[in-house]
């Protein structure tokens, strides 16, 4: 029964537990240990639920993807702005997924070219099914392995009473360099609330053929996604706490380096689970993010954009999907490409691009001509506006910290 109920909600949240997100949680655990960030990560997922629930209603009521709806209601001018934000963010994120795939398999001695080829082959295999339902089941089956971070966390023997205390009190607060704390706050928010999730879940709800009567099931699906993904995210944070206790500087660590560094404390099996988890996170996100770009492109260009359509009918859709994946994969293989630039910025860009995406979402979901009786109620509007203002505030603090770097340095 559960297997029938889960769908776009679980998929979008487990996919957003992608390589850079798990890297952010890992960096947070290694830098600050158990404390404020454990409930904070859960809080960011609750913000994600507020946002994603609106996309379920929009998709089920209008039967249109998010990009298509923005073009319909706001015109091409604003539509292209949203699209440019989405496609830029998606491509940069896709690059980081292939960095994760390469790094995850690299732990087992697999060469970069082969690792990236395996990633592309899985993306290709998922779309050859010709049915949204089959594609969704395959991707969900892969997403289950996000749970690999849970045994990795158990092997790290975290102090469960300290974790429970932190969850209830948000203590101890992080201490040290303010700029570093701000960067991790931004990265952890960007690991949960991003524009591609809005576009993907709404399009997937439409492609699945969900109706207004399915909204309740869609909410359950989304809430289940929040619970599963937040558990895995917090597990990634807990798995790297031994690095905090042993004073290991993890600020410059990439995905596989975390696994290597953890080996003395969680053993080879734990480190291998961690590396496999990073590989899985990259694969599932590569599948869903390239699909998100293809949905949006197809909706805007007015060409076929459904995983239920055969290749010959919707070739621009499938070309966009595979083309974006191949371009990102190719970039990862270029020697001395400045990939650290992408890894450093991808989650931060996601947070900074969210306020305009949320503004369009809030306008659409309050549009009675589009939503009829399914418009937001007062509580939903209060929650949506709070999330938007919070993201703007975080962005403004980031701007001030960047303009005046000495302000938060100590």
């Amino acid at each position: 029964m559960l297997w029938l109920l889960v769908g776009p909600g679980v998929l979008v949240f487990l996919a957003e537990n992608d390589a850079p997100s798990m890297l952010s949680y890992s960096a947070t655990g290694a830098r600050f240990g158990i404390g404020f960030f454990i409930p904070f990560v859960l809080f960011t997922f609750l913000m994600g639920f507020v946002v994603q629930e609106m996309t379920v209603r929009l998709g089920a009521v209008t039967h249109r993807g998010h990009a298509e709806l923005i073009f319909d209601r706001f015109g091409r001018f604003w539509g292209f702005f949203s699209m440019s934000d989405l496609l830029l963010g998606n491509f940069l994120t896709l690059v980081t997924e292939f960095i994760g795939i390469r790094a995850g398999l690299g732990f087992f001695g697999i060469r970069p070219g082969i690792a990236v080829g395996v990633g592309l082959a899985i993306v290709f295999a998922a779309i050859t099914t010709g049915r949204y339902w089959t594609w969704e089941r395959i991707t969900l089956g892969l997403a289950v392995f996000n749970g690999l971070f849970i045994p990795a966390a158990i092997l790290a023997h975290p102090d469960w009473s300290a974790a429970g205390h932190a969850m209830l009190t948000w203590m101890p607060l992080p201490k040290g360099n303010g700029a570093e704390i701000l960067l991790l706050i931004l990265a952890d928010i960007g690991a949960t609330v991003t524009p591609w999730m809005i576009f993907f879940q709404q399009s997937a709800v439409v492609d699945k053929g969900m109706q207004p009567r399915d909204i309740r099931a869609g909410r359950f699906d989304t809430l289940l996604g929040v619970l599963l993904a937040s558990t895995c995210g917090i597990a990634a944070l807990l798995a790297t706490v031994p690095l905090f206790h042993h004073g290991i500087d993890a600020t410059q660590f990439q995905a596989a380096e975390f696994a290597e560094a953890l080996r003395p404390w969680i053993g080879h099996a734990g480190a291998a689970l961690f590396a496999l988890g990073i590989f899985e996170a990259g694969i599932v996100a590569a599948i869903t993010i390239s699909t998100s770009s293809a949905y949006a492109f197809g909706e805007v260009m007015g060409t076929g954009h459904s995983l239920n359509r055969p290749l010959r009918e919707a070739w621009p859709f499938y070309s966009t999907l595979l083309g974006s994946a191949c371009a990102a994969a190719g970039l990862v293989l270029i020697p001395r490409a400045p990939l650290e630039f992408v890894v450093l910025t991808v989650n931060v860009i996601a947070v900074l691009a969210m306020p305009p995406a949320l503004a369009f979402l809030m306008l659409l979901v309050n549009d009675r001509d589009v939503m009829g009786e399914y418009v937001n109620n007062a509580w939903e509007n209060a929650a949506g506006i709070t999330v938007t203002l919070l993201l703007i505030c975080v962005g403004v603090v980031f701007a001030v910290a960047t303009a005046f770097p000495n302000l938060l340095s100590h």
Partner: protein, 90 residues
């Protein structure tokens, strides 16, 4: 929200009653028609109609332009912070 879903389902005829021709089914209600179609049929049917363009008030335009400026400024600052991170000051 529970009320809305229940209301919608309450107004929806069962396939059996449709087959028997019972009740007054208003097939001019696009949402009712959509709810009766299969997923593939919904995807095909939605291509037939479009929502009209929304009229944007001055306040709405100001907000959208403000947010657009926000994104541009933030992207510039991201580039600045990354350059600083890659080439830290001595």
């Amino acid at each position: 929200m529970k009320r809305k879903d229940a209301d919608f389902d309450a107004g929806r005829p069962s396939p059996e009653s449709l087959a028997a021709g019972e009740g007054n089914v208003n097939l001019e209600d696009p949402r009712l028609v959509m709810s009766l179609l299969e997923a593939d049929q919904v995807v095909a049917a939605k291509r037939q109609s479009r929502f009209g363009r929304r009229k944007l008030s001055v306040g709405m335009r100001v907000m959208l332009w403000g947010l657009r400026a926000y994104v541009v400024v933030m992207l510039v600052l991201v580039v600045v912070s990354v350059i600083r991170a890659i080439h830290p000051a001595p």
